[in-house]
Symmetry: C2
Subunit: 182 residues, 2 copies
Amino acid sequence: MSRENKTMYTLLGLLMYSPLTGYEIKRSIENSIKHFWQESYGQIYPTLKKLVDLEFAVVQVEKVDGKPDRKLYSITEKGRVEFINWLKKPIEKIPIHKDELLLKIFYGQNLTVEENIEQIVQYQDKMEDFLDTLNSTEEYLVTRRKKDPNFDYWMLTLSHGQLIVKATIQWCEESIEKLLKK
Amino acid sequence: MSRENKTMYTLLGLLMYSPLTGYEIKRSIENSIKHFWQESYGQIYPTLKKLVDLEFAVVQVEKVDGKPDRKLYSITEKGRVEFINWLKKPIEKIPIHKDELLLKIFYGQNLTVEENIEQIVQYQDKMEDFLDTLNSTEEYLVTRRKKDPNFDYWMLTLSHGQLIVKATIQWCEESIEKLLKK
DNA sequence: TACTACATGTAAACGGTTACATGATTGC
DNA sequence: GCAATCATGTAACCGTTTACATGTAGTA
């Protein structure tokens, strides 16, 4: 079973809006899909090269004084077809995400009840911080990006994050309760 | 920042209960933490070797006619200390799990509303199947393992899975609703 | 006859992060 | 003077999966 490279589709998806440089792609990911998707330069630049090799994108090199060349990547028709085909394809299997907290809780019998509660409390704190940043993003989208044709889809990914994080916080509270009764 | 090898701690945690072979470890993972943690033989066997190198475990080789040697690994005192120290350490940062469905939904404007709904419907189906297997596991634990000292902690990891999957199904339903109104 | 369970392991490749290297400009 | 932003990229390494190799015993 060959593994498909999702980084490629992430970049193609961004290039569907407009041509971008590697640097701009990184920034773009940082303030849009960051809460469920990340890419490093170590992935972005080689993938951009691959996109050109496969004729899914073309480069325009702009010379700039004293700076490295600015390489602007544009998606080709072939790239658009490839991207749309990927988009339509259903997700084959739900992925199992490795969860370090659960691994520690699974082995919880090796610690005291108090130590386990402490672990969960600290995790819950981090989840509440995360919920705050998601809520800030929502406010930004609603006040500044409501007219964008993508707005509804962006909001769907956000509400997913909010629901999951809230469920996790709820689990933390319930679990602490249960452990206190031991 | 050096990356810690969680596979090592996964194996040490299992060896805390009793000595095991690589094969038994694989099986053990398959019917306990499978819903949030997986390890392949390509990870297990080399890690077992490493555990012995670091003196966190010792091997006992049992010769068996016509079969490969059975290598039984036991945790050492040094290994127990290492494991407990890891268990106590708080989770530093919540990991961002890459989510292919959300990536596709984020780019949803490139498809029709119906195509996006179809994508979510199919995902929801898979989530409902997953919930069924989690519920079966719960039934098994409650009817067959209630006396085990680890029972409460095992149930916590299970209820986490159930809550998250239910939240995801809820998100699917709400999202389909929202898309139908477009 | 074929599949499953038992039991070991390796090699290649993939996917991803981190650290490094370079250097101009702008603003505090 | 220092940090941030713009802008390119590579190399080393880590973590993980997949496919391969080997072979017996029991069962459907």
